[in-house]
């Protein structure tokens, strides 16, 4: 009798254990299937510091480089292959490494550090974000000049050079956003920089010492107002 009771309770315990474990693992399985939704960040306008000094080591080279007037770019054509100011430029030339070329094996060979390219009789512009190597995620080729259907998209006006000073002679503010373009020297120095925005003093690498973003194009900042209603206790 005792022996039988023992065997029965042994199987009962085994059965309970089975149910507990099965339930536990089933629940675990459900949890994994649930992906928590992260709320989006609110942008309140402090630009990232990432890459501020990235090309600073070339500052003196930029300074000593003679200006190649015959091959310099100007803002006149700069926005031609951009859908709007700040849009990723499309690729205005054939893909030298073919359709499957990517990053370091293709585009970055010229666009990481720039330099003169005989084939296009031009200097390669330097990318401000060489760490992003899937270039053609954003930059597409222009393989045809015709359109599928006429578009009504209007081109909004690009920021102008030379009109961003607050005072006569004071350092101009940045008239554009700098997300993914935190590294100023890549576009504002070197032979591929459009002549209107080529910096006269590339050796002063701490750009944001004097030039601060004028972020009005993203969020209109009102002038400073005293509120005195701080919520401190």
């Amino acid at each position: 009798m005792k022996k039988r009771l023992g065997i029965i309770s042994f199987f009962v315990i085994l059965f309970i254990t089975f149910i507990v474990i099965w339930n536990y693992s089933y629940k675990k399985g459900l949890e994994e299937a649930y992906i928590p939704i992260k709320e989006q960040s609110l942008d309140f306008g402090i630009p990232s510091e990432k890459g501020v000094f990235t090309r600073a080591e070339f500052a003196l080279d930029y300074l000593n480089m003679p200006v190649d007037e015959a091959h310099q770019r100007s803002l006149e054509t700069y926005y031609d292959n951009r859908a709007y100011p700040g849009a990723p430029p499309s690729i205005p030339h054939e893909l030298l490494k073919g359709e499957r070329g990517i990053g370091g094996k293709a585009c970055l060979q010229c666009h990481q550090n720039g330099g003169f390219v005989d084939k296009f009789d031009a200097y390669a512009p330097v990318t401000p974000h060489p760490e992003m190597i899937n270039c053609r995620q954003c930059h597409v080729a222009q393989n045809t000049q015709t359109l599928f259907a006429i578009s009504n998209a209007t081109k909004i006006q690009a920021p102008k050079a030379g009109v961003n000073n607050a005072l006569p002679g004071s350092p101009p503010m940045m008239p554009h956003g700098i997300q993914m373009r935190e590294n100023c020297l890549s576009c504002h120095a070197g032979p591929a920089a459009p002549k209107e925005i080529r910096v006269t003093h590339p050796e002063r690498v701490n750009c944001r010492q004097c030039h601060v973003p004028d972020i009005r194009e993203f969020a209109d900042v009102e002038i400073f107002r005293r509120t005195n209603n701080h919520q401190n206790e």
Binding site: D43, F44, G169, R198, R204, V212, H230
Partner: protein, 776 residues
């Protein structure tokens, strides 16, 4: 045809006309281009009237040229003749004049009547101030009135304030906001060398091989000097090592960034000394000839209680005792609690220890706003003294300042409670000299110091001070634990007079508001971090009844019957006061340049001897005051020797715990200067940095489920403040730390900070207290 030079005002208007036409054209023809417009659209202002002066903001003391046209300031550029900045400024400097025209500028005196401010003629307002001060003295005694001035006061302003309080009234109730930023540096210099202010100068940057910055984000706070360092880095391969508790723009630009746990800088500095001594890197002959060893009291407390007082009792020790003391600070032991690796400590020590490398150490608020700030200053001097790397071009410790005349006014004129223009009130000889020059009875100057800044506002809160006059400063944003001092100043027991240019939270509690002239609306002199005195002449007229602070002090003194002590003329008082003040510093140790020289040149470094600036003090090659016949002479101390101090590591007064798990660090951003009362009224700067925020380490933010921009309540045992979160944007604090800039009067982080201070210097620590954070 169109040229890019501006010939006169008409040219300027013409350019404006061109601009408006271009804008009009651009709306009609999007993408329209006019060639060669890079620099030419806005005129360079070549024919404006350019006047020289020092910049209004930080302690670097850049030379500026202000372009005026028809009595208005319209442009600023760097002074190419100034050896400080060589023509370069920072974004604050370039736009500084834009605050003058702020709409809410204080243009007339305001007197509070039945709870409302009434516009009052300045003469009447000054009568009220003088009468109130006289009454208070009659009823409650001299020590019931106080004046709180500033490291932004000009030299003449500080001088008349000191003469008025100490010489005319006869109270030492005069302190200034430099107590909140430079007092530890002063105490450090006095204890180590017996003479205040750095021995080197900015030219060190051109010679050094290594720059080691101690808790100092120079790229944002001293950007012009940092740019000079970057230039040397690029051109000569000089190296910058950033030693800090937060990753900043400076860290990014440095060759190496080393992070440490708050407060453990004391231990790391000692560990560097340990390495230097134990690896035989000590410069024995220098130490034997020029240094003594001392120790002081320990476990000093933190000054958290009212009426706290402390006096250090130094005693001389020998080298063996010092060596034994260092045994506690082996890199291995220190690495455990400082979170700096043994390798990094040895790396730093090896840089200082290498006799062939020239090293400059830079620091500012990280080391000064520290409950052991004096010790920390001593410890860095120890490193430089042990290795003999001091007072030579490219070698030396360099304490930077945050205010334009923290050195020139607060420290040299001495607007601290214990100071006189030369020496201290406790010294009879110094009191006698002051009495002689001021032409007052020697007995009138009291020999005992009274309140330092924090204690002064505690006394206001307690009701001990019945009248306080603040000039050029905004204590209700800048004091620690403003949650106590704001209600304190609001009390009826104290009559508050505030002189300022703009309304601030401090002027909000004033009984009388006096309209002050801004920087270029008056003449004056500032003294910067490298002992450079700079003069400027008035450049534009101020609006309304705005008046220079010095002149308002003099007017009140006259109304109180001290007219014979202030025989200056309104037009020329700056010159007359400076000439009187110069008498205090005559001699080769601190001689000041004559005004004619300062008017002509872009500043001169004191000691100014025989028509020459002294760039490296204590070094016989450069400093004519060295008289001991050796290479170096630390003449601030009676025996001519500098002191190497035994200063241990002691923990911070409040450390993170279960209830308040984060360190709170506060500081500045490049766009704003101090409490923002000026820079926030400059549209360029406000647009770039519209409000304060609280920085998190991304892992802390993730653990708390905090996203960027979300409102966060930061609270301590004293108060709380709600700010948007900033994750990995401007700065990146170490894990377990949050950082908040203090410029925003609409988000007062100083309600949260702790009013603990260094017992020796009485400078509060704004960099460390314990807080909790939660979603608001």
């Amino acid at each position: 045809m169109y040229t890019s030079t501006l010939t006169d005002r008409r040219e300027f208007i013409k350019k404006m006309a061109i601009l408006s036409a271009m804008t009009a054209a651009a709306t009609m023809f999007p993408g329209i281009i006019f060639a060669e417009e890079q620099e030419s659209n806005i005129p360079e202002g070549a024919n404006l009237d350019w006047k020289k002066g020092p910049c209004r903001f930080c302690g670097v003391g850049c030379g500026i040229l202000v372009g005026t046209e028809n009595g208005k300031a319209v442009a600023v550029k760097g002074d190419p003749n100034s050896s400080v900045n060589k023509g370069l400024l920072c974004v604050k400097g370039y736009h500084q004049i834009m605050c003058i025209q702020a709409k809410d500028r204080l243009t007339h005196a305001l007197v509070k009547k039945n709870g409302a401010y009434v516009k009052t003629p300045l003469n009447e307002a000054l009568d009220i101030v003088a009468n109130k001060m006289k009454e208070t003295i009659q009823e409650h005694g001299k020590d019931a009135v106080a004046m709180y001035t500033s490291g932004q006061s000009t030299i003449p302003e500080g001088y008349v304030a000191s003469k008025f309080m100490k010489g005319a009234i006869g109270t030492n109730n005069l302190d200034c906001n430099a107590r909140l930023c430079m007092a530890s540096a002063v105490a450090g210099f006095l204890t180590s060398f017996g003479a205040d202010e750095p021995m080197g100068c900015y030219e060190d940057i051109d010679h050094a091989d290594y720059f080691i910055t101690w808790g100092n984000n120079m790229a944002e706070m001293h950007p012009v000097l940092f740019s000079r360092m970057l230039e040397q880095k690029n051109r000569r391969g000089a190296k910058i090592i950033d030693f800090a508790t937060r990753t900043t723009r400076s860290s990014t630009a440095s060759n190496r960034s080393i992070l440490f746990e708050p407060q453990t800088d004391l231990a790391v500095a000692n560990a560097i000394c340990y390495e230097i001594v134990h690896n035989g890197w000590m410069n024995k002959s220098f130490v034997e000839k020029h240094c003594n060893f001392s120790k002081g009291l320990t476990n000093m407390g933190y000054g958290l209680e009212d009426n706290y007082s402390f006096n250090d009792k130094p005693s001389t020790i020998d080298f063996e005792a010092y060596k034994k003391f260092l045994e506690e600070y082996t890199p291995e032991k220190v690495a455990k609690y400082s979170k700096v690796s043994v390798k990094d400590i040895k790396y730093l020590a090896a840089i200082y220890g290498d006799p062939n490398k020239k090293v400059v150490s830079y620091w500012c608020m990280g080391m000064n706003q520290h409950t052991r700030g004096t010790w920390m200053n001593n410890l860095v001097y120890n490193i430089h003294l042990l290795t003999g790397k001091i007072s030579q071009p490219g070698n030396g410790p360099f304490s930077l300042t945050g205010q334009p005349s923290a050195c020139g006014t607060a420290r040299e004129v001495g607007t601290f409670t214990h100071k006189l223009p030369k020496g201290v009130v406790t010294n009879e000889k110094h009191r006698r000299l002051a009495a002689k020059i001021w032409k007052v009875p020697y007995e009138r100057i009291p020999p005992k110091p009274t309140y330092h800044a924090t204690e002064m506002f505690r006394a206001v809160d307690r009701g001990d001070i019945k009248f306080i006059w603040t000039q050029v400063t905004n204590p209700l944003v800048s004091l620690p634990k403003t949650g106590r001092y704001r209600p304190g100043m609001e009390k009826d027991s104290c009559f508050v007079v505030v002189s300022d240019v703009f309304p601030t939270p401090t002027s909000d509690v004033a009984d009388v508001i006096l309209p002050a002239s801004w920087h270029i609306e008056k003449s004056g002199l500032y003294g910067n971090s490298e002992r450079r005195t700079q003069h400027w002449d008035k450049m534009v007229e101020g609006p309304g009844e705005t008046t220079p602070d010095a002149w308002m002090t003099i007017e009140v003194a006259k109304r109180m019957g001290f007219g014979d002590l202030f025989p200056y003329s309104e037009e020329n008082h700056v010159e007359e006061i400076y000439n009187e003040y110069r008498q205090f510093h005559e001699g080769p140790k601190h001689g000041m340049a004559p005004l004619e020289v300062l008017k002509k040149e872009s500043g001169a470094i004191w000691p100014y001897v025989d028509g020459k600036s002294t760039q490296w003090r204590f070094n016989a090659k450069y400093d004519p005051a060295c008289t001991n016949g050796e290479d170096f002479h630390f003449y601030g101390k009676p025996d001519g020797k500098a002191v190497i101090w035994e200063r241990p590591y002691e923990p911070a007064p409040e450390v993170p715990d279960a209830a308040y798990p984060f360190w709170l660090n506060t500081g500045r951003v490049i766009e704003h200067w101090h409490t923002g009362s000026m820079t926030r009224r400059i549209p360029v700067l406000h647009k770039a940095m519209p409000g304060a925020y609280v920085e998190f380490h991304p892992e802390d933010a993730e653990a708390l489920g905090i996203r960027n921009g979300e409102n966060i309540k930061v609270s301590s045992r004293r108060g709380s403040c709600v700010l948007p979160a900033s994750i990995n944007e401007r700065g990146l604090p170490t894990k377990g730390q949050v950082f908040v800039p203090f410029f925003d009067e609409n988000m007062l982080i100083n309600d949260v900070t702790l009013d603990a201070f260094c017992p020796i210097s009485k400078e509060p620590d704004y960099k460390k207290c314990a807080v909790k954070v939660e979603k608001a």
